[in-house]
Point group: C4
């Protein structure tokens, strides 16, 4: 039993380490989309302002995912092949953030980049939902992790908000952006359900 | 003895951490090959579609290697200089994935890029085979890791399929691609031999 | 209690690992701003000299942050959501170093790049100050970490020096650079307060 | 005492993790210097051949440093500020490998790039020597790590060979390259002194 749980820990540890590595790289290479201007004047920075804003939003978004990933695996105590692959699936969609963030920033938040940004955000939300449910079902209905998620209204709400945001972007891209910010604000505070589960 | 196995663990730990780091970077910098288009229209994304497909295939391939690397070292309990260098050799070939993936995607899966993609995939398979056998011989014939690998038909089959895929690419590149997908599908499910070894 | 502190350790461990990853990437991708010249002559390296100097200063700066981050978390034994987000906030400002370092180097230390470099350095100092105080207040007034920081004259002095440097840059950019070097020299020696706290 | 050694372990652990991260990134971003050709023909790869050879040599070189770094810290059991900064100094010189490797490859091993490659290699050797002696003097004259290094003829020989290689490059760059290869071959086999120290 002690050996078994040790096995579980080591496996979880390496999955966390690999995810940390990938997320750390994603969050850092996004800055490479802000190309160094050749001119030394202050005006040379102006066209970079939307790229910077897009970077800030994406940094916060990826930071939120790392934060919640951290909380979720903190109360998990075993993993299996399904968790490994749903985790890889989440990392895949997260890895598209540098691309859509760069595209959105360089095109000053115009329609299609905003829609694509929402689509990638939405897929990240769906992938996180899959991962969470995969972990919950592995740990059993009565487990802290399953109880902590419950019906996961937060995950579902996020995905709905992203879809609404994509729709609203066709009226005005900034309305879409507003929706994405609301989701970010909603997740900014770490998941209380997880913290409650830790206290028990 | 306890001290000895502790030594073994620490060494293995750092090898895993280093490999995780390299693989995490490989899998993430591949996305940099999808250059952000300057145009904001949906049509601007069209030429990126083959690059995206190539990214997906490569993400899955590198993900499979990480997954199996993880499983293999999970049941290993010591390493030596041979393991270190065969591992480095595997990382070398894996590090060429961003290059061949970018070349294949940008040239819409035409002949030579597909052939080179297969050649790099094939060399990764060979390098993985070397690493596995190096680990197995270090642990001895009766060890779980050696038994788990057995004749390693799966590793040999992969290499053969890659060679067949390279050959078929000269008839049609898509037939080569199909072969590469078959190998990916074959490895997608984590190595049952390893899981069986863990249960004993 | 033993379980509890174990929880605390694991959480801290992953925060450290993630921060290490991000800082390692920041410090390493800065070198990508030194574009490989197409010419093979020694003269081809000349225009890269200021980029190289800017890289050296930034490498030392980011190295100092890693060093002090390491020392600070070494005597911390728990974290919370506030620490997580103030840490993320610090990483955000650190991630702008490759951009401002590249801009300053490519423009031979002219006015605005030097001012922006100072501004980012200053924000890093402010962010580090927030993180330190967040950790200190979490551990309580009597804790080693809170005592170690005390009034944190060093953090406050750094921020003041950066502001003075930004002001002096308008007279001569090199006077600003001199100020930044003084701060770097001041931090180069690891925080004695931390080491004292460890000895007790 | 148990607590103390625990402290030592944790600190060492994070230094190793950070170094692993930086070295993993260095070894992987070098591949980005092999720019994906726009043409799909086999001839399009020809101009990349020297870049590839330069990549192979540099991959092996950085791999050797990781390998020996790993061995050295394996028998170390404490670190201090001096070790931290000599380690940072080593990482700085290693971080210049992608630049000199790219320059040397793109210019087909012509004089100055080969000289600069040797200079960076030489500085890495010097930095490694500093780090090793800093660790040895911290552990005391009778410690396994100090005994293992002894007079460190290997480190001194490497630096001398690099200097000779730089000199010979002025006659023919390929003679310089040959010298660099000899050093790589000399280090390829992990340090026996370290393994002997571990056995005692």
């Amino acid at each position: 039993m002690s050996k078994n749980s040790n096995f579980g820990f080591m496996t979880k540890g390496r999955l966390e380490a690999f995810s940390d590595g990938v997320i750390a790289i994603i969050i850092t290479i996004m800055v490479l989309e802000m190309k160094v201007p050749h001119d030394a004047s202050l005006e040379a920075l102006k066209p970079l302002l939307p790229v910077f804003l897009s970077y800030v939003l994406s940094f916060v978004n990826v930071g939120i995912y790392w934060n919640n990933h951290h909380h979720m695996f903190h109360i998990a105590n075993k993993i299996n092949a399904g968790v490994m692959w749903t985790n890889m699936h989440l990392l895949f969609w997260l890895s598209l953030f540098p691309f859509v963030a760069g595209w959105m920033g360089e095109n000053h938040f115009s329609l299609w980049p905003v829609v694509m940004y929402g689509a990638v955000s939405c897929m990240c939300g769906v992938a996180y939902y899959f991962l969470a449910h995969c972990l919950a079902s592995l740990h059993g209905k009565e487990s802290p992790i399953a109880v902590a998620f419950g019906k996961d209204w937060k995950g579902i709400t996020s995905v709905i908000f992203y879809l609404v945001g994509i729709g609203l972007a066709f009226i005005s891209p900034w309305m879409g952006i507003a929706c994405y910010f609301i989701v970010a604000a909603m997740w900014f505070i770490p998941d209380k359900r997880m913290e409650k589960a830790l206290d028990n």
